[in-house]
Every structure is written in C-alpha cells, then in structure tokens.
C-alpha cells in the first residue's frame, strides 16, 4: 500500500480542521495532538493510506478513545492503551491487522488512531466513520451499514483489558462499553472487530484526514495573509455562510450525560434584522433563521469566532460573542434513509422533523 507520511505541521493543521469538523463537540484535540507529536519525536512515523489502496481482504481495525472529557484532561492516558487493546483483539481473534481506521474525525478522536497506528507500525486509512463528530459509537457509517463491532477490546492506563465477545446490537455494545469505561476510571481506548478492505472502501467517509488537514491549512494560510479564514473554509468545503451575528443568549443543561441547549443569535451585517437559533446536543444539531430550519443534522453546523475564524465548541459559547455560522454538506453516506434512522433528526429525538439537505433548502428558497 502506498502511504503518505504526516509531518508535525500536518498535525497542527489537523488540530484546527478536526475542531471545525467537530461541529461543537468531539472534545478538544490539543492533548492528543501533543501525544501524537511525542510519538513522532520518538521515531515512529504516522502514515496515511488512501481508501483506494486497500486490498479487498485487508483487515482494518476501527479504534478510538472513549471517556469523560473532565477525566481526560487530568488522568491523561498512559499512552499505549490503544495498542494493548489492538494486540488483545488480534490475539483473541487470531489475525494481524493491516491498517487502522478512525471512527470520528471531529475532535480529539481524530488523533487517537494516528498515535496507535504509528506505535503498531501500521498505516491509518484516510477516511472515518462519521465525517464529523457524534456522541455515540453506533453512530458510525461502519455500524450503520452492517459492520458488527464485537468482538472488541478495551484497555485502561493500568493495563486492564476487557474483551466484549458479543453484543446483540450496536446500541448494547455502546452501553456496555460506557459502563466498563466508568469502572476503568472514566477514560479508555477501544479497538473494534476488523472490517474488510472491501467494506471499508465502500462505507468509510473517504478522505477525512486529508480534508481536515487541508481545512486547518486553509485557516492558517488565510490568517498569515490577513485574509478571511471563514471565506477560506467555505470555499474549500463547498460550504455556505448561513448567518453572522452576536450571541444574545446561551442556555445549556446536563441531561443524562449529554449537554443540551439553545443559542440565540442577533443578526449583523447582511443578516441584520434576522434572528438565529441553534439547538445543541453535545454537537450543534439544528440551525433556524427566523424560526425556519435551514440546516439540520447530519449536515454540519460549524460555529466560528468572527474575529479569528477558530471553531467554537459548545462549552466556549458566551453572551456577546460575534460568531459566523457555516453549513457544510454531510457526505452522501450520512444522508441515506438507513443512515438518517440513526443520525438524522429522528436519531436525536425529533421524529417530526424531516431531514432536508442544504441543497434542498437552497432550491426551495430560490423557488419562493
């Protein structure tokens, strides 16, 4: 397989790009970027392989971190949790992995597969299972399109390793994994049953790493040339500026481990006289302008600080901030009827709201 080796500069770009694709959630990639840099400085190379390069029978292991953010910033990982989980899975199933896959490109979990793969001497597939961030494991394209993620292996910093032999559904796997993670101290690494190269080529969101790195690079370049980073992001991603304005209210509450809330925005500039609203559940899910839905999950709602173009996560929003709201189209794999059952409005408790793509909303608007 022909692979491309990542540089330190790529990791700095990825940190920015992964935060943008995190659509408000996914956790801060800063600490995991530091870990990736340390692994690189220790002499390991981080290699990306494009989906086209995967042979049909390649064994690809999806892998990532699972845990509570507040634990992650204090009890930082030992560093080889993922490697132990991978090895335990290989031993248990009697196979050798050919490549590692990312589950979630948005936020901190973008870095985890790179770190483990570099330590294991394996390449990472240039793709992921979400194309953004979502709160739960069963919300990957892998699970949605039929990959059974057990048997799987979970490891903590102490060296404890748990094998999940069988879950009757992906949702059950998510529940059991979360309970085990809590008993392991609130932050663990999880390696999932291998996927075939053929399956991965068909169902991974393609090019996620290249995309996130290019996004970060566009922001850094725009900033160094005193150009508008927000325009640079839209241009790269075929996105659209949906709104610009000032936050006039933020309400957030914790509900069953999730952060839910509403953000009210008063329009400025071209949007003066309009009001915007974002509904959030860990990530930004629905954007309304003057009461009308304009962007809805799984399409990406990105909130950027108007001054410097940095992506703002839900916990960073404050009264008075000037923000821009961008919409980026979700990959087609996230927009099928099958995917929308899990990650469409219905999957987040809004069965009454139909999903209409950004492009449909545009067409409807121009028909008015």
């Amino acid at each position: 397989m022909i692979s491309r080796e990542l540089t330190e500069a790529d990791l700095h770009c990825l940190e920015i790009g992964a935060a943008i694709l995190g659509t408000g959630g996914g956790g801060n990639p800063y600490l995991s970027k530091l870990r990736a840099l340390e692994v690189m400085r220790a002499g390991h190379s981080i290699r990306l392989v494009s989906l086209d390069e995967l042979p049909d029978d390649a064994k690809v292991v999806p892998l990532g971190g699972i845990g509570a953010p507040v634990v992650g910033v204090e009890r930082i990982r030992e560093g080889r949790e993922g490697l132990r989980a991978l090895w335990a899975l290989e031993r248990h199933l009697g196979f050798a992995a050919d490549a590692i896959a990312c589950e979630e490109i948005g936020g901190a979990n973008s870095m985890e597969p790179l770190i483990i793969a570099a330590q294991a001497g394996l390449p990472v597939v240039d793709g992921d299972g979400m194309g953004r961030a979502f709160p739960e494991m069963q919300m990957t394209t892998y699970s949605i399109y039929g990959h059974k993620s057990t048997p799987s292996a979970m490891s903590d910093p102490h060296g404890n390793v748990v094998i999940f032999e069988h879950a009757v559904s992906e949702l059950w796997h998510e529940r059991m994994a979360r309970a085990t993670m809590v008993s392991q101290g609130g932050s663990s690494a999880l390696a999932l049953a291998p996927m075939s190269g053929a399956f991965t080529r068909q169902f991974a969101v393609p090019g996620s790493y290249s995309r996130a790195i290019a996004l970060g690079a566009a922001v850094i370049t725009a900033r160094s040339q005193h150009l508008d980073p927000i325009a640079a992001i839209s241009e790269r991603e075929g996105g659209r500026l949906m709104f610009a304005g000032k936050i006039v209210d933020v309400r957030r509450e914790i509900d069953g481990g999730f952060v839910r809330g509403e953000v009210e925005i008063e329009g400025h500039d071209a949007f003066a006289g309009s009001s915007g609203n974002i509904h959030l559940q860990n990530e930004y899910l629905i954007f309304r302008r003057d009461g009308v839905i304009e962007v809805i999950v799984p399409d990406l709602i990105v909130v950027l600080n108007a001054d410097d173009g940095l992506a703002l996560s839900t916990d960073m929003l404050r009264f008075g901030q000037r923000i821009c709201i961008l919409a980026l189209p979700a990959h087609e794999l996230l927009r099928t009827a099958r995917a929308l059952e899990v990650i469409g409005p219905r999957g987040f408790g809004f069965p009454e709201l139909p999903f209409s793509t950004l492009e449909d909303v545009d067409t409807a608007a121009s028909a008015d």
Binding site: V70, R75, V182, G320
Partner: protein
C-alpha cells in the same frame, strides 16, 4: 487610614497617597533598572505632594509585574525538580512537554514521574512510590537543586499524596523548598503542574523581591508594613508572596479595573484600559474583575489560574493608521509615539494624531495634523469605534446597559459613547493601577469537597463561609468589614456520600493597628 498604593510596571512606576476614600496625591515616575530605587522615588514624590509625614503612613500596597516579566524574559529563574505522581497514567506526556524549549531549559528540565495519584472518584490510582521518591531526593541532592514541585493526578480532589510525598522529601532534604500543585490550581493536569513549576522557579526571586521591597519601604522612612496585590485584586502578605509569587501574574489588569471601579464609584461596568499598543477590556462584577474559566497563556505556557477575563485588542495610542483612515493597528510605534507620531514632529500617522486632528485631544503640536482631511479622521474614528465596540460587546455578560470606563494613557482615543453604552473617563485615569493597589482588600477562600451524607447543603455552605472568614481574618482582615463575594456549590457525579464541591470567597478591609 493613610496609605500608599504603588504600581511597578515595565515602563512606569506610579504611586498614590490615599486617606480613606480620598486621593491626596498621585505621581508617575520611570521604572528603574534596580526597581527598588524607582519605588523609593515614587513613594517619596507621592508623600511630598500629599504633604504628610512618612511616619503617618499606615500601609503600603504594591502591584508588580516583576514575576510575570521574569517568566516572559526567562530571567532570574531557578532550577526546579518537577515531580509528578500518577504513573502509569500520563506517562506519554512528561512535565513541561508543551513548554517553549528555552523556558524548559531555563528551569533545568529535571522531570520525574512516579507512581501515585487518585482516580476521579477518590480511589487510589497507584500507591505512592516511596522508594522512587528517595531516589529522586538523592538526585536532587547530587544536582544541588533547591526547589521542587509535586503534582498528583486528581490532587485537587485529594491532596493527601502530595503532602505525604512532601514530608518524605523533607525527611531527606530538610532545606528543599516544595510547591504542591493542589495549593495552586484546579483540575487539568498539565496546566496545574505547569503553574506549580512556574511558582517553584520564582521562589528565589520572590525572596529577593520581597526583601528589596521591604528595604525600599524602610529606607523611605516608613514604619508600616507592606503587601503585594494578587490576581483577584486582594492583598498577600510578605510570607504568602514568598510562597506563591505566581499569584501576582495578572495583578496588573486587575488593579487597573479595581482602580477604575473606585475612581468612578461603579461596581458593574466594562473597563477599557488603553495603552500604547493594545487595549485591555474586562468586565467588573460587584467591583471585582470577572474571572476566566479557560486556560491562560503566560510566557508561552498554558496555565489554569483564576485570572481576570481580559480581552486584548490591537488598538492603542501608538497604533498605525492607514493613509485613508480605514484601518488601524495592530502594528504600533509603541513607546516611540513621543518621537514618531505626527503631533510630536515624527512622520507616522498614529491613532493619537487622529484624536488630535478630530479635536478630541490636545497633545503635541496640533498644526502638524491640520492637513489631515476630515474624511480621513472621520473614517479612522469610526474604525476605532467599531474595534472598541466589538471588544466591549464580547465582555458584556447580559443585554442590560452597562457603563464603560476608560482608563490608561491612551484613553484619549475613547469616544463618548460605544453603541448604546455611555462612556466615562474618571479623573486620575492615568494612575488607575496604583489606585487599584491602594484600595486592595484582604480575601479568604475555601474550595473544598464536602460530603452531604450527614451535613445539609446549608450547613456545608455555612461551614465553608466560617472557614473563609477565619482565613481572611488570619490574613489581616477587619472582621466587621468582611463580606461574601462568591458562593457556589457543584454536586460531583459518581462520588459516594453525595459529595459536593463548595467554593466561598470573602473579602474585607485591611485591619491596621
């Protein structure tokens, strides 16, 4: 009470004499190379101008950027043994991993990771590695290192292991000076650890500085004591500064905001401190700066101190203005404004020149800017207005109208209104920092986890308040002046016994005999 407030900045040392709530005199002097002679000069000038006897001064309050500057300039730093308890966790990111290499080198890059620490729910993560500590002690002795920092994973939830490790090291090395992370910061391992290491590396400088300040006060014929202001705008006595110099890091912006509150009598306001290159904008709540909840970068190091939430914009008196007036800053001529600005006979169009051209200010030679077309200065004024409005909007916490207070040498740039907000510029705005130091109070704080299994929430809050009051009184506060300025309780998930984190902060006036 007759007292002196002193602000020691990088460029100027200012002093004010105050009696109760009245300002008797103000003076601005240049900061000297040795710092202390500048303080002496400023105090002597302020005392003479006030016409009071040195012996009648009851206290001196000093605000200083000395310790921040030492870190930023990598000067006067001592070597630190940075010890972390928490293996096997966090092994992949050793202490100081994200520091700039020159700063890491300046503190010696001695890092030790040992077993120890706690889980989030209070379980032991690993038993303390006592033998490992003894090895570290031997190495510290061999290297001749004089200070150490100890950081345990989840130390803020339980500090027992940090204390045990300190006691063990002191058995071997009785003269070692040790900083515990749990005394300094909050959850967030790398940030808290970095803060503890920075504090440790400043301990020697803290000794020298406190001693020198003491000498300056005594040499000026004063017989009173002195204190130094900390991040939250309250005072630390000499002993506390010697132990926690790092707590002075953000005292500059805090003093300016507290001074602005005093000079205007406002307790809820946005303060804009306009300097030569940047403007610092922060929010006053109940007369104190609102504190930040995120990480703060000091000299290239991420820390999680409680600091005033100040937003800096690249607009000051020396900011460069484009020829058409449409854009201002962030580039600035800085302190060279008095030679490079047009009104001072220079050739660079600056924000100050715009203020003079528009008739808002009368500084230098106004004829030098008479040729600037009205369209240009109007455009430039509009650009300044926009930039300041945005900064102020960011700091507002609600839609309700709050006044804006302009202080600092560059505050001649400030328009009379910012959007819907009225602007005031108090008298003596140029010495707001020294005034902020002179009115500094004494605080007491408790930030602890209470078990509500046997105690009611009200009883826990009352117990915390009593403890905070006692600590304020011990630090020198007058009991009848103490009031609570912050009180919060946060239930902690997953902990047995209904654990709740209670934080109470009180402030009171300094008691003088």
């Amino acid at each position: 009470m007759l007292r002196i407030g002193v602000d020691v900045g990088g460029t100027n040392t200012d002093a004010v004499v105050m009696d109760g709530n009245s300002l008797l005199s103000t003076i601005k002097t240049a900061t000297t190379e040795d710092v202390t002679s500048g303080i002496r000069n400023a105090m002597a000038g302020a005392i003479a101008a006030a016409g009071v006897k040195p012996r009648s001064i009851r206290h001196v309050m000093i605000g200083t950027t000395h310790f921040t500057n030492a870190v930023v300039e990598r000067k006067h730093l001592t070597r630190v043994a940075a010890i972390r308890l928490g293996l096997p966790a966090a092994a992949c990111l050793p202490p100081m991993v994200d520091w700039p290499p020159d700063l890491r080198a300046a503190v010696g890059n001695h890092r030790y990771m040992l077993r120890g620490g706690y889980e989030y729910d209070g379980r032991v993560l690993s038993e303390l590695d006592v033998a490992g500590l003894d090895d570290v002690a031997a190495e510290i002795a061999a290297e001749g290192i004089g200070v150490a920092s100890i950081t345990s994973i989840f130390g803020p939830i339980n500090d027992a292991m940090e204390i045990a490790a300190r006691d063990r090291l002191l058995q071997r090395l009785p003269h070692l000076r040790i900083v515990l992370s749990s005394e300094i910061g909050r959850i967030g391992l790398l940030e808290r650890e970095s803060a503890a290491i920075l504090n440790a590396t400043l301990l020697d400088l803290a000794d020298l500085t406190v001693t020198a300040f003491g000498r300056a006060v005594a040499d000026s014929g004063l017989t009173c004591g002195f204190s130094i202001t900390q991040n939250d705008g309250t005072l630390m006595g000499e002993d506390k500064v010697r132990r926690f110099p790092v707590l002075t890091f953000a005292s500059g912006p805090t003093n300016s905001m507290r001074g602005a509150a005093f000079l205007t009598g406002l307790k809820h306001a946005v303060v804009v401190d306009i300097g030569g290159t940047t403007s610092d904008v922060g929010m006053l709540v109940k007369g104190f700066p609102r504190q930040t909840s995120t990480t703060v970068d000091i000299g290239g190091v991420r820390t999680n101190f409680r600091m005033p939430d100040v937003f800096a914009v690249g607009l000051g008196g020396g900011s460069l203005v484009s020829a058409d007036g449409a854009s201002i800053g962030p580039q600035s001529v800085g302190y060279r404004i008095t030679s490079e600005g047009l009104v001072f006979g220079g050739s660079t169009l600056t924000a100050t020149d715009i203020a003079v051209a528009s008739g808002k200010a009368a500084i230098g030679d106004a004829t030098k800017v008479a040729a600037i077309p009205a369209a240009v200065w109007q455009r430039a004024l509009a650009a300044m207005q926009t930039s300041l409005s945005r900064a102020v909007e960011r700091c507002r916490t609600s839609a309700e109208t709050v006044p804006v207070i302009a202080v600092g040498g560059g505050s001649i740039l400030m328009p009379d209104r910012l959007g819907d907000l009225p602007v005031t510029q108090p008298d003596h705005f140029e010495v707001a920092n020294a005034v902020g130091a002179a009115i500094a109070q004494i605080s007491g704080e408790v930030d602890r986890v209470f078990s509500l299994a046997r105690l009611s929430r009200e009883a826990a809050l009352a117990a915390a308040e009593a403890e905070a009051r006692a600590s304020a009184i011990a630090a020198g506060a007058r009991p009848d002046s103490i009031e609570v300025i912050e009180r919060e309780d946060i239930p902690l998930a997953y902990l047995p016994g209904n654990a709740t984190r209670v934080r109470v902060r009180v402030v009171g006036d300094l008691e003088t005999a």
